[in-house]
């Protein structure tokens, strides 16, 4: 199991991706799983830094990754105010196609087998993502 506690800055995205990549390689996961989990951790940590913790460096982004024979479970928690997942606009709607932002969740949903959002009892949002083997 891998656990990380990262400051709310953009550099944490690369740091999380490096650590997760090393963990997956050391545990013999193939390129398809590695690509999906890498993309998911980058997008979810970026969201946690930007939208969850709003770049407040007194708040942490907490990443945990666990793997077994069934697959990988990735959790990314911010310490922000939470948000309504239903309020995220569909980036594939023709009206939103030329917007610069808002595609991270779409990528997470496409490449992971399961994505769900939970409210942590101590505050913040937890994104739980599963990639099955």
């Amino acid at each position: 199991m891998l656990e990380l506690s990262l400051p709310s800055r953009i550099e944490s995205v690369e740091e999380a991706a490096q650590s997760v990549g090393d963990f997956l390689a050391a545990n013999g996961h193939g390129p398809e799983v590695a690509f999906a989990v890498d993309l998911a951790v980058r997008e979810s940590v970026a969201n946690a830094v930007k939208h969850g913790n709003k770049f407040d460096e007194t708040k942490q982004v907490l990443v945990s990754l666990a793997g077994d024979e069934a697959g990988i479970e990735l959790k990314v928690r911010d310490q922000g105010e939470g948000f309504d997942i239903g309020s995220v606009p569909d980036p594939t709607d023709p009206a939103n196609l030329l917007k610069a932002n808002g595609r991270g969740l779409l990528f997470m949903n496409n490449f992971m087998d399961e994505v769900r959002f939970e409210i942590h009892p101590d505050g913040g949002t937890v994104v739980v993502m599963v990639k099955r083997k």
Binding site: I10, E11, V13, E14, F35, L39, R42, E43, A46, P91, T92, L97, L98, K99, A100, N101, G102, R103, G104, L106, F107, N110
Partner: protein, 115 residues
């Protein structure tokens, strides 16, 4: 040090920008934004982005491609994409941006399309 390298060459009035490395949140996206601004500032508005050397792109990088596209359009120019890797093609398909960008597999066809 940035994870992206952008080199520029000219083919007639088309500016070809060869990208290699990662176009991701932070330095990669900013480097692309700055390069596009600089080229537009020089009055060059026919731009071909060669993505053949891009090993990785995230949603921020895809967003930067869209911003580049709209910035070039705003100047009355055209931005097209060359040599998409399979992964980038997949990401553009998922985001429905293949309907927005003109994409090419070979440079000669891409250059001819500007005429």
């Amino acid at each position: 040090m940035s994870d992206i390298t952008i080199t520029e060459r000219q083919a007639g009035d088309v500016t070809i920008m060869d990208l290699s490395g990662k176009v991701t949140i932070g330095e990669g996206s900013v480097a692309l934004r700055n390069a596009i601004r600089r080229v537009l500032g020089e009055g060059k508005t026919k731009i071909l982005l060669n993505l053949g050397g891009v090993g990785y792109i995230d949603s921020s990088g895809i967003g930067e491609l869209v911003s580049s596209f709209t910035a070039v359009n705003k100047e009355g120019g055209t931005l097209k994409l060359l040599n998409l890797t399979q992964k980038i093609q997949d990401l553009l398909a998922i985001t429905k941006l293949l309907t927005v960008f003109d994409t090419y597999d070979d440079e000669a066809s891409a250059l001819a399309s500007y005429n």
